[in-house]
């Protein structure tokens, strides 16, 4: 029996090729993402472990904000001397490192990375832990001298003796590059500028007595943990965070981990899609192979093979396929990881591909996924194969089991679909975000399953419509292609399902992103009243100096500043909520339209006052006049009186829960050294908007990070942010299409083989090769478009439900991107044409005689 199985596997290897490819793809994504993240994690763990001081003393970081505030928290530099006296301390170093500065060259171009990695300006302190060493020039001596890291110097063409401007929070200053420092470890992609320690303290932190942290070296024989305890005894643990090298490395890795996790999850998402779609492909291939081999299997049964043996034979074939696919997939995964590492290098993150880490989990997952998926996917066809009766060997049955009724599918599909629809309806009706989101998830999964199950039932009605014009347009070729697509609904349904799954995701996400875009547009239209907004493209705050220059620009009338701070509020219902609050200058009404349920802007921004969203207030039993205890960073505390409640329908996302804001005095008092995040500027009377814009742009010339935005630009900025989501959608779409093409190719190729005689007959009675190719192409197109229509319909329903969830977050507008959807349908027709290329060629090359010769 095993021999027969192996023979069969080898005989059908061509037909299994595409299924194997699907396995390879999914395994490659799983293995690639694991190898990549293992490699990166290992590299950075090493980097941080080698660069962390034995014990680091930092300001207590009790409140954090998703929105950067620009403020740098400090510790007194004198701590270094105090700690040096602690028993077991070998040496202490003052650190002055900031990430809130922008460094520009003489042509006002930023030398910082464009990839989102930080620009770090820090003090030059050579220790054995330094990640860099001086490779040319000399170390910085005194004000006005600086070192630059070699990678940045090379990338931005900065040489020794060039002058750069550092825009730090206390103010801008010029430095001359006197030396180049080269990374001795992995460069995480940041740009590094080194100053001598007093300069760094004064210029970056505003005071020679300040430091961002103190690094402590342990004396020989003193453990890190032990030293930490002694320092804690000296300083207490309330004001400062103490971290051993290990803890420091962990927290640094965790910060970076967020970014890496995104890559990992995106990759695993791809793997998921590949696996899901691969399952359809494998099920379809095995079903078709078994249908074609019905007589052969019947013969085996007639010769005495029992059901179990037949089933085992098919599953053994699947196992072989899975093993081969997983092995190739693992190899492809290594290649993929290598590619990703190269890509990271292009982004400035110097990973060494020679240090690729392949943990034991990688091959294990690869084989579990590859073999598991194939095995599971082949199980149903195998059962069906076992059900072949010995009579099948004798019967002159037509190949391919067309017959079996779809009743079970209809019932199961309808039931699951009804539950799914109910969940989605519940989601749309729900008023609580968490309930709505979980109902949405449930509904999405159930409706997807229902559509996959009921897909074959929809083949007939939908393709009748889709291909309805074929006979009229393409004559008998069109008629035959339409009927061929209808011939085996089960097969057509399964083939289209591959495309459907991918396009349903795309449809849902594109509706969601279009709705978000529209909601933001709507909100910007409604609230933004200023002529111009000045903002960093990545929403990072800018130095005070910029604000002063904008104010001094000729023709600039009103300038209203916006600044953010993390806060924690204790509300009357007993809840403590950590969120981000905003602060504005008094004449906010002139640059923004704020609607109030109670109170007004003047009251909201008054001294000792705070405003918040009316719904948030109601939920937490806050009333006008309530006194709210508010905590700011660095343990600064106060109580603010609620003086206004807004009714904005504003988005609560982005860490801005509650929509809290207050006057500028409050933020300056409790978050000293903060930076402005945005400036709202109106033209002075007598100055035209275009004129002001030109002048503002001139003013901002030395600040490449800041942009002058009018309402349209501002919308575009938001659109660009949302577009990132869309790129992900398009990448998913791409992968879904690749695999769906494989599926369609697979089905068509097997169908062509099955219809050899029919094709021969058609050729004999005068169907030209071109017409034959067209017939197969049209069949392919109709299958692909069927999948697209089903997928997009499902996706739009999901999208509408996602929007309902977003609406609870204030994004009330619904937009369905019809152009995208129509483009995807048209695209799917192209996909069909592409998928038909090879099968059509194969059919048209078929030998007419071999096809019609009897016996």
């Amino acid at each position: 029996m095993l021999k027969a199985t192996l023979r069969s596997f080898l005989a059908h290897k061509g037909r299994l090729l595409l299924s194997a490819l699907a396995v390879v793809l999914s395994v490659a994504f799983v293995a690639g993402s694991l190898i990549f993240s293992d490699t990166v994690t290992r590299t950075f763990d090493r980097l941080f472990a080698s660069t962390s001081a034995d014990v680091t003393v930092e300001p207590k970081n009790d409140l954090s904000s998703q929105i950067p505030t620009g403020a740098t928290q400090t510790v007194p530099a004198s701590l270094a001397e105090r700690l040096a006296k602690v028993d077991g301390v070998a040496a202490t170093h003052v650190d002055a490192a900031v990430e809130n500065a922008t460094v520009v060259d003489s042509e006002h171009e930023s030398v910082g990375p464009t990839t989102g990695a930080p620009t770090i300006v820090t003090n030059w302190e050579v220790t054995e832990r330094s990640p860099v060493k001086l490779t040319s020039g000399h170390e910085p001596r005194g004000d006005g001298e600086a070192l630059l890291d070699a990678d940045t110097a090379k990338k931005k063409h900065v040489r020794i003796d060039d002058t750069l401007t550092v825009q730090a929070q206390p103010g801008p200053f010029k430095v001359r590059i006197v030396g180049i420092a080269t990374f001795t470890t992995t460069n995480p992609g940041a740009a590094l500028i080194f100053l001598d320690t007093p300069t760094a303290q004064t210029r970056l932190l505003g005071s020679p007595a300040a430091a961002t942290s103190i690094s402590v070296d342990a004396a020989p024989g003193v453990g890190d943990a032990q030293l930490k305890q002694r320092i804690a005894a000296e300083l207490g643990t309330k004001t400062y965070d103490l971290k051993t090298a290990e803890e420091q490395a962990k927290s640094a890795a965790a910060q970076l981990g967020g970014f890496l996790d995104v890559i990992k999850y995106v990759m695993l998402g791809f793997a998921g899609i590949a696996v899901l779609v691969g399952v359809f492909l494998i099920v379809n291939t095995f079903s078709m192979l078994i249908a074609q081999r019905t007589r052969e299997l019947g013969l085996l049964r007639a010769l005495g093979a029992d059901r179990r043996q037949v089933r085992r034979s098919v599953l053994t074939e699947a196992l072989l396929l899975g093993l081969v696919g997983s092995t190739l997939g693992l190899a492809a995964g290594i290649g993929l990881a290598l590619g990703l590492i190269k890509l990271m290098t292009a982004f400035g993150m110097n990973l060494k591909s020679t240090e690729m880490v392949i943990g034991w989990a990688t091959p294990v997952s690869a084989y579990v996924v590859g073999v598991g998926v194939t095995f599971v996917a082949a199980y149903l066809p195998a059962r069906r194969a076992a059900g072949v009766s010995p009579m099948a060997a004798l019967a002159d049955a037509e190949v391919a089991g067309v017959g079996r009724p779809l009743r079970v599918r209809a019932v199961v599909g309808t039931v699951v679909g009804a539950f799914g629809a109910a969940a989605l309806a519940g989601c749309a009706a729900s008023s609580k975000t968490s309930t709505a989101a979980s109902l949405l998830g449930l509904g999405v999964v159930l409706t997807l399953i229902a559509t996959v199950i009921a897909g074959p039932l929809l083949v007939r009605p939908v393709i009748r419509v889709l291909g309805g014009a074929f006979p009229a347009v393409f004559g008998s070729v069109g008629r035959m292609s339409q009927r061929n697509a209808l011939r085996n609904p089960r097969r057509t349904g399964a083939t289209a399902a591959a495309l459907m799954v991918g396009l349903a995701l795309v449809g849902g996400m594109s509706v969601a992103s279009a709705s978000m875009t529209k909601s933001f547009d709507h909100q910007i239209d409604k609230t933004l009243g200023a002529d111009f907004v000045i903002q960093n493209s990545n929403f990072v705050p800018f130095p005070q100096d910029l604000t002063d220059k904008v104010r001094g620009t000729q023709g600039a009338g009103l300038v209203v500043r916006q600044r953010f701070t993390p806060v924690a509020v204790r509300l009357p219902d007993g809840k403590r909520i950590e969120t981000t609050a905003a602060a504005y200058d008094p004449r906010l009404d002139d640059v923004a339209h704020v609607t109030y349920a109670q109170g007004n802007t003047a009251a909201a921004l008054g001294d000792g006052h705070i405003a918040m969203d009316v719904k948030f207030a109601r939920k937490h039993h806050v009333r006008l006049g309530s006194v709210i205890p508010v905590e700011f960073p660095a343990k600064r505390k106060t109580e603010l009186t609620v003086a206004a409640l807004t009714d904005q329908d504003a988005a609560e996302g982005f860490g801005m829960q509650g929509g809290l804001y207050f006057g500028f005095d409050t933020i300056e008092r409790y978050l000293p050294g903060g930076q402005d995040s945005a400036l709202y500027v109106n033209a002075a009377s007598g100055t035209g908007a275009d004129q002001l814009r030109a002048r503002l742009e001139k003013t901002l010339d030395p600040y490449p990070q800041a942009k002058v935005l009018d309402q349209a630009d501002y919308k575009k900025l938001i659109h660009d942010q949302i577009a990132v989501l869309l790129y992900l959608v398009y990448a998913l779409l791409g992968l879904a299409i690749v695999i769906a093409v494989l599926g369609v190719v697979n089905t068509l190729a097997l169908s062509v083989v099955e219809r050899t005689r029919e094709i021969g007959l058609l050729r004999a009675i005068g169907l030209a090769r071109r017409q034959l190719r067209r017939m197969i192409r049209l069949e392919s197109v109709v299958i692909a478009v069927f999948g697209a229509v089903l997928g997009l319909a499902l996706g739009i329903v999901w999208g509408v439900c996602i929007q309902q969830v977003l609406a609870l977050q204030g994004m009330k507008s619904l937009a369905i991107p019809w152009t995208t959807i129509i483009a995807v349908v048209v695209g799917s027709a192209v996909v069909g044409i592409v998928a038909a290329l090879l099968p059509a060629l194969r059919a048209s090359r078929m030998n007419v005689l071999a096809a019609i010769a009897h016996e």
Binding site: S476, M480, L761, H854
Partner: protein
């Protein structure tokens, strides 16, 4: 390699001329030592307006001859004409068009496209060509074959005989110059087989068509005007106005040759036909002993 055939039908002056013609038609498979000659320099003329049967034992090359005459297969040497058109040397596209517009086909089995109904199958060659069928002619064909009430049926809903009648209608529908029928009764029971043969006869007599039929059934061959006997790739004999038993006798001589050749029972093809030979001989000859008992009483008017 060109051993001339001992007997062949050259230039029959009678009838309405020549529908198809082959000169020195040679078809070889394989190369070098293993070369097999399926057709060995065959000269043949197919007269217009007549019913020609091609007979011969298995492997005699009768199907190959038909395939070459119909432009389905390429030739190794020699020339083939359809009417005045030389088809040897035509490209695939021209051959396809020629088959579509000028030749009708019937095969032993799998004659119809399962996804199309009877009416669509009948007009398929014209639909492919994008031509409108001649409705009057079409009606005549459909009525002659008695398919009027079967037009909306799919092949799976038709009996084997009905399917062959639809195939016959398709072959006739475009009024081709030549109809090739490859074992058209091979898969049918005797009654249905007789019916189909009757229609082919009628197509020649009433509708003026030209039919070439490949068969190994003497009873079927007896419906034709002329039987060409093929042996080892050559035309070895021909018989005008054949009767089943005369054909059978002639075929037996192949068997004898075979038996002496192989020292065995010969190919299955050479064995006396059973089941499909339902024709009642015109004179009572011992050939009737081979007839199927069930269908012995079925008669069909001839001529």
């Amino acid at each position: 390699m060109s051993t001339p055939a001992p007997e062949h039908a050259v230039g029959r002056a009678e009838a309405d001329g020549i529908a198809a013609r082959a000169r020195g038609l040679t078809k070889a498979y394989g190369s070098g030592e293993t070369t097999v000659l399926a057709l060995d320099s065959v000269d043949v003329d197919i007269a217009r307006g007549r019913f020609t049967a091609v007979m011969g034992p298995s492997g005699s090359g009768k199907s190959t001859l038909m395939h070459c005459l119909a432009g389905l297969d390429s030739v190794s040497a020699g020339q083939v004409w359809l009417g005045d058109t030389e088809i040897t040397g035509l490209k695939d596209r021209e051959l396809t068009r020629l088959r579509r517009d000028r030749i009708g086909f019937m095969f032993q089995s799998f004659n119809l496209i399962p996804t199309l109904n009877a009416a669509e199958n009948i007009t398929l060659p014209m639909d492919i060509a994008g031509q409108k069928p001649d409705q009057k002619w079409l009606d005549q064909v459909i009525d002659t074959l008695g398919l009027r009430d079967r037009l909306k049926h799919r092949p799976a809903q038709l009996s084997g005989g009905q399917q062959q009648r639809v195939a016959c209608a398709r072959a006739l529908a475009s009024r081709p110059e030549l109809i090739f029928a490859d074992e058209p009764t091979g898969n049918l029971d005797s009654r249905a087989g007789l019916e189909v043969l009757g229609f082919l006869r009628e197509a020649v007599d009433e509708l003026g068509q030209t039919v070439v039929m490949v068969t190994h059934d003497p009873g079927a061959a007896a419906h034709s005007d002329l039987v060409l006997f093929l042996g080892d790739g050559r035309i070895v004999d021909e018989m005008e106005r054949p009767s089943a038993e005369a054909v059978l006798e002639r075929m037996k001589r192949f068997d004898t040759i075979r038996v002496t050749f192989d020292g065995g029972g010969g190919g299955s093809d050479g064995a006396p036909p059973a089941g499909t030979s339902g024709d009642v001989p015109l004179d009572d000859s011992p050939g009737a002993a081979f007839l199927d008992g069930d269908s012995g009483d079925v008669t069909l008017e001839k001529d």
